[in-house]
Subunit: 136 residues, 2 copies
DNA sequence: TAAGTACTTTATAATGATTCTAAAGTACTG
DNA sequence: CAGTACTTTAGAATCATTATAAAGTACTTA
């Protein structure tokens, strides 16, 4: 499905040079079956395990934010000390399991239509994000 | 409406000793007509202006988290570097104005009923929080 | 009311995520 | 191949938050 060539093409087409660090990070993020929710620290650990050559933490930060700007990653609104990212950039919502502190995707179709009845003059709605906290 | 005596009663009734710092903080937070959204830094600045006697930053942190535990304040889920609190502890949602980075309360009745169609076995829904991002 | 105790406040240090810096390395262009 | 602009990197800097531990204060009970 996704392979090195595709990553290279995608990076180049969005004006990001396909460096070996970026390709490694693409592999870690996108060669997965399921959506991936992660912090920079999670990603750093995964990369260290995967490959012998260390990618600097600064590069991981740079790359993740570059990918976010290109809309290859989404930042998730949570109030935790670490920032969470999501490889699922489609319009969707989340369960947050308060026991395990884990996020679970909620497809848009899993949520009934949300109607916002109030308008703020001169402002447009950019997105609607729902966080459903669950626990045992 | 709210006055010092009420604050003292409320504090005492929830097992918090009514110290002058806590009462000052109550005044800053609750002697307002409208809901107040703030960060620790906001509150610190307000307190410095209001009263001559300085309240230590550590005390502000301690008090805000104590109030949060007593359900006198709510923490808001946003991914900003600072933590936001809300004096409106009722069940409600928010607009986030991306231009000014300001929060606006959305009453529960301003939002149509939200139906979560998916269930996670063994888990109960604790809360549903909606963040509506708006901009010019 | 005084003494004891548990709770509070405080300044300051420690922590930890993130951002900055500036030098060395690399991809791409001509 | 040389030049330039983009990248990576280690390490330092920043900044919100949390921890520490000593001094202060509220409250209890005699």
């Amino acid at each position: 499905m996704n392979n090195k060539e595709n990553f290279i093409k995608k990076l180049r087409s969005s004006g990001l040079r396909p460096t070996k660090q970026r390709i490694e990070i693409c592999k870690a993020l996108y060669e997965r079956k399921k959506t991936f929710h992660f912090t920079i620290d999670d990603l750093n650990k995964i990369l260290r395990k995967k490959s012998k050559e260390k990618i600097s933490l600064a590069t991981i930060y740079n790359t993740v934010y570059a990918f976010k700007n290109k809309n290859y990653l989404k930042e998730i609104s949570l109030n935790t000390n670490k920032t969470y990212f999501d490889t699922n950039v489609s319009n969707h919502h989340h369960f947050l399991d308060e026991n395990s502190n884990r996020l679970i995707d909620l497809k848009n179709s899993d949520v009934g239509k949300v109607k916002i009845k109030r308008k703020i003059p001169g402002k447009k709605i950019k997105s609607i994000e729902i966080l459903v906290r669950i626990s045992d």
